[in-house]
């Protein structure tokens, strides 16, 4: 009887905490939707900002965000997945190098983004003379998300059953064939989860981007062009008191963009897993 009572209380507590979390989340999103929806129309999405964002839309910042995130992912994903594969499939296990790399990745993952921004500013923008640009920002974001991508890929690769490898090798497969045909497809869902998390961070990042890609409102075409992302735009709209309504409209579109990224990633996972 006592245990059953306890069970009930615990169940209720769990249920409550789930409810609270859901309520907070729904509250925030609801608030943003309510405050931001009025700003959103086709012009807001398709037109570039004018008068510092008081008028026009946010099209250049949407492009800037996608551009910058893509560049960051294009740099970080091959490097991170490659490092994970090297560590787990090629490198000897339990070496000093592997241990140091793991420790480095964990430490790097915990560093605040502004510190990456400062580094990117000093190193890429000034020292390498890349200026405020998609390239500087992309490189900085790539370094920022690299630890997450490496670690999640590593975990995903480790989770692939060892028997797959021995069976594959016993059939005469080389390491690379085994990785390509067996390990990567099996690890893909985990790797893609890491990419989603990282893309979310890149999309949402403001401080590091402001320091390295600048806040130009022009349309970024070349990789050497400066750009303003949606998160930076939101920050400036709010802090300079340009328009709260438009800041919320931008926030709403950031959430939509992240949802789209999640959806695309899930879709591609399902595609990979099916084939």
């Amino acid at each position: 009887m006592a245990t059953r009572g306890k069970e009930k209380i615990i169940t209720v507590l769990f249920w409550l905490s789930a409810l609270v979390i859901t309520a907070i989340l729904a509250g925030i999103i609801g608030y943003i939707v309510v405050k931001g929806i009025s700003a959103i129309n086709w012009e807001f999405i398709s037109q570039p900002p004018s008068r510092a964002g008081k008028e026009g839309g946010i099209s250049t910042t949407i492009i800037g965000t996608i551009y910058l995130t893509l560049v960051a992912l294009l740099i970080a994903v091959p490097l991170g997945v490659g490092a994970a594969l090297y560590l787990e499939e090629y490198g000897r296990k339990n070496t000093m190098f592997g241990y140091v790399l793991k420790l480095t990745a964990e430490t790097l993952a915990g560093i605040p983004s502004i510190v990456y921004g400062l580094f990117g500013f000093v190193f890429f923008v000034i020292f390498l003379n890349m200026g405020w640009s998609i390239l500087s920002g992309g490189l900085t974001l790539a370094i920022m998300i690299l630890p997450t991508i490496t670690r999640t890929s590593q975990e995903a690769v480790i989770a692939v059953p060892q028997e797959y490898r021995s069976n594959s090798f016993a059939l005469g497969a080389t390491k690379w064939y085994t990785i390509k045909r067996l390990i990567l497809p099996a690890a893909a869902p985990g790797i893609i989860t890491g990419i989603i998390l990282s893309a979310g961070r890149a999309v949402g990042e403001s401080a590091a981007v402001l320091l390295t890609a600048g806040s130009s409102l022009g349309m970024p075409l070349n990789i050497t062009d400066p750009a303003r992302t949606m998160a930076v735009h939101l920050y400036i709209l709010a802090i300079e008191g340009i328009s709260m309504e438009r800041a919320f409209g931008t926030a709403l579109l950031i959430i939509v963009l992240i949802l789209i990224i999640n959806y695309l990633a899930n879709w591609s996972v399902r595609k990979v897993v099916r084939q």
């Binding site: 296990k93 021995s166 069976n167 090798f169 059939l171 005469g172 080389t174 897993v273």
Partner: protein
């Protein structure tokens, strides 16, 4: 009776630990050779020396020679990929790859450069037929292999090995995860396969060794204690330790 594999002074070390102490053993073509012995005596280790799979375990060292059709598989000129094409292996736990039945079977042939769809189709069918699985799965070969029963999975794994057209098949306790019906199906299959292949099978089940094999080797603590025709070994063991083991006095 032709000697297919000639093992000479085979020793294996896991770091400092010596798991095999100089195994000399001739394995004959188109015969089933069973390896028996208590847990940890080195049966699996020995089996893995024949396709050089021990090399995947860090810190292992193999000494001695194994001649496959008179060629030393441990010489420098040997290509392990070609070796493993000739010497297939079935593991204790059937491990089907997370893909369709068809893709599982085609996996090996594709490694060895076969891309032609028609050719792959016929290899897949032939291998499944040879593994006695075709009738059960022919309507769903493009469905995920994970949906098969344990016994079917083990036969699928055997079909996957047959698809690369090996000459020798190593089996490490292939029936240990199977129910009695699947086990007897597997034993029947082994009987058929030996017409074409040379089979080396590790088993803990002495009745099974007696039923399926022509020769039996008894391992103990990394030594090959006794090796002879299965019937002789079980009916008339020469070594006291063999006798103790097969009569169940230890192990």
């Amino acid at each position: 009776m032709k000697t297919k594999l000639e093992c000479k002074e085979v020793k294996v070390f896991y770091k400092d630990f010596q798991a095999l102490h100089g195994i000399d053993m001739d394995i004959f073509e188109n015969r089933v050779t069973a390896l028996i012995g208590p847990s940890g005596c080195g049966k699996s280790t020995f089996l893995r020396t024949i396709n050089r799979l021990n090399e995947l375990i860090e810190g292992t060292r193999t000494e001695g020679e194994i001649y496959l059709d008179e060629k030393n598989i441990y010489s420098n000129e040997i290509d392990v990929v070609a070796l493993r094409k000739k010497v297939g292996m079935v593991f204790q736990k059937p491990s089907v790859f997370p893909m369709s039945i068809y893709e599982n079977i085609a996996y090996g042939p594709k490694i060895h450069g076969i891309k032609n769809k028609g050719k792959l189709d016929s290899i897949v069918e032939k291998s499944l037929v040879a593994a006695n699985l075709w009738q059960e799965v022919k309507d769903r070969i493009h469905k995920p292999a994970a949906g098969l029963s344990g016994g079917q999975q083990q036969r699928l794994v055997i079909a996957r090995v047959l698809a690369v057209e090996p000459e020798v098949i190593l089996m490490d306790e292939p029936a240990s995860a199977l129910d009695p019906i699947s086990t007897s199906k597997l034993e029947e299959l082994i009987g058929e396969l030996k017409k074409q292949y040379t089979i080396v099978i590790v088993t803990h089940n002495m009745q099974q060794a007696a039923r399926v094999s022509d020769f039996t080797g008894f391992f103990l603590n990394g030594f090959l204690i006794e090796y002879s025709k299965t019937n002789d070994l079980f009916v008339n063991p020469h070594d006291k330790k063999t006798e103790d083991y097969i009569t169940g006095r230890f192990g």
